[in-house]
Amino acid sequence: MIELLAPAGDIKKLKIALHYGADAIYFGGQNFGLRANAKNFSNEEIKEAVNLAHSLNKKVYVTVNIIFHDENFKDLENYLRYLDNINVDAIMVSDVAVLDICNKLNLKLKRFISTQASILNKEAALFYKELGASRIVLAREAMKEDVISIKKASHLSLETFVHGAMCTSFSGRCILSNYCTNRDSNRGGCAQVCRWNFSFFDLDNNLISDNFWMSPKDLNMSTSIIDMIDSGIDSFKIEGRMRSIYYIATILHVYRNIFDKISTNTLNKSYTNYYLNVLKRCANRETAPQFFNKFPDENDQYYLENRDEVSNQDFLGIVLENKKGIITIEQRNYFKLGDIVQFFGPNIEMLNYKIDQIYNEKMESIEVANHPQMIIKIKANLPVSKFDMMRCKLFDI
């Protein structure tokens, strides 16, 4: 079964991700996961997440993917036992010590090998399979022939990133942050130094450029999904535990629709173009397909002087309730009477609507919604429901 795998930075984002069609969610606990400085999940919240996901027949994966220093092993065994006891479906691991501990404790937790391990060949996959891994999260650099070869030899479940930020480096092979910020990249402290600006000198110390950039565009594999399924990918992963609910909802909405249309053979060029436009609009960096079908080149890199970085104000509000023809919305960005907006949600591909009246919480008529998170109401007979999103009108299909 094909899986759409979404990130969750906290319990609220997890609920949004499940609502928008994720088949499985990944996140970190308070320790042992990369994104050390995100909010992450307490033990109680992990349990709540597991119960919620399982009630919807969905899965939960917890990242235990730092590369450990000896001092970090404290409490790891108890944590792994806890995750096992509360029926977390799998942990994502990069350090063999964690695999070894799981094996010695005889835990039923499935072990997925994190992309931090940077697996590109079948021999590496077979090594981890022998250690009890049931899934490989492929290196972001995997080409199609690598995917096919690994699948054929290992028969392991294969997971790959399809959307979001890309590392410049092979994952796990970068300590630029350690040098430039004293934060440990491989324990969740990545400061994205590869996105910084550098001066480039030749070996004789002649300045070549004082505006050197090295980071790639973000990943967007939305036009290659069929090919990826055919090559043996089982789980399609979206990056972004630090992203907003609007970003998560938009990206998931698009990919959920792509997968559903592939399964019903209804994905046509109009939809593909529409989805591509929405995805491009949602990110604040340029996106591009990378690796898999084509080795990247200079056009897949990100150069600051030419970037079209959008400060995204598209997210106008989230639907809280739709009752008796009154839609209650929590505002996120300015909108006013006369604006044409778009609703989208799990049951709405896209619905254009002209704002012809706005009411405040006391049902007093107002002309603009201009306070962040203010509660507004609209009288309209629209098929929207809780957690549906309202955005600026972007594109038509």
Partner: protein, 262 residues
């Protein structure tokens, strides 16, 4: 630090005679097509040298690359050991008699993983991002002797992308394959070098742990590794004779931050 326990990551075959004169006979080589960041050599250049040859295969291998390496295995009988980054390499070499050294970039930093690997391989090469206390702890708890880098430049990043070529092509500049990147508004600089396997960045200030070796139990050390991509005999000689060499102690005395407070 006895000279017979020094391992030099060599970039120049002509220096071998000088090293042998002072009792250094262990050398690490980057193998053509299978390494990044260092001067590479072909197998036939290394096969008949009267020295102990170790190979460093420090790339992550894709399907084609590992298939290509498999074809070399029967030509490796003269090699005293192989440092490997890609665990796939371990998988195809584990049944050979070639001694293997776990050298998986920044992963070799805790005693549990090291001992896991020491059940399977000859030794492990400690990563550089460790404090002196961590190094001592690991050495005391490791089940075999280990390799410790004592002088050189540390690889700070390894990308599959051709970062210099991309930038130069995009800007219509002459393609050059190495140079220096200075972080704007910081005192940090990186040596950058590109080859067919991608791009490597080295932190451009040498580390030198030799002054601290009196704190280290020599019995726990298999080799003291000198791994500067631009090493030469004169520098090594100065190091051995404890002459002052420009260097810094980046991680040896300062822990990196795991989680920010507050």
């Amino acid at each position: 630090m006895k000279n017979n326990k020094i391992l030099i990551y060599l970039n120049n075959l002509e220096d071998i005679a000088k090293y042998k004169e002072i009792g250094i006979t262990n050398f690490l080589f980057a193998l053509e097509d299978f390494s990044i960041g260092y001067q590479t050599f072909k197998l036939n250049e290394l096969a008949n040298l009267d020295i102990n040859v170790y190979l460093n295969i420090n790339i992550i291998m894709d399907t084609k690359k590992i298939a290509k390496f498999k074809k070399l295995i029967n030509k490796l009988t003269f090699v005293k050991g192989i440092f490997f980054e890609d665990v796939g390499l371990y998988n195809i070499l584990k049944k050979t008699k070639i001694p293997l050294i776990w050298n998986q970039a920044h992963f070799v930093i805790n005693s549990k993983s090291i001992n896991f690997w020491l059940e399977r391989v000859e030794s492990a090469s400690l990563a550089n991002e460790l404090t002196i206390d961590e190094i001592k702890y690991i050495l005391n708890n490791a089940n075999k002797s280990l390799i410790m880098s004592v002088y050189g430049l540390n690889i700070a990043m390894y990308s599959r992308r051709y970062l210099l070529s991309y930038f130069n092509k995009y800007n219509n500049l002459k393609i050059i394959k190495n140079g220096f990147l200075n972080v704007n508004n910081q005192d940090n600089s990186f040596y950058i070098i590109e080859n067919k396997n991608g791009t490597a960045l080295f932190y451009n200030k040498a580390f030198n742990y030799i002054p601290y070796l009196n704190e280290i139990d020599d019995q726990k050390i298999k080799f003291y590794l000198i791994n500067h991509p631009h090493i030469n005999f004169e520098i090594v000689n100065d190091l051995i004779n404890h002459k002052e060499v420009i260097s810094e102690e980046k991680f040896l005395k300062t822990k990196t931050i795991y989680k920010l407070e507050g």
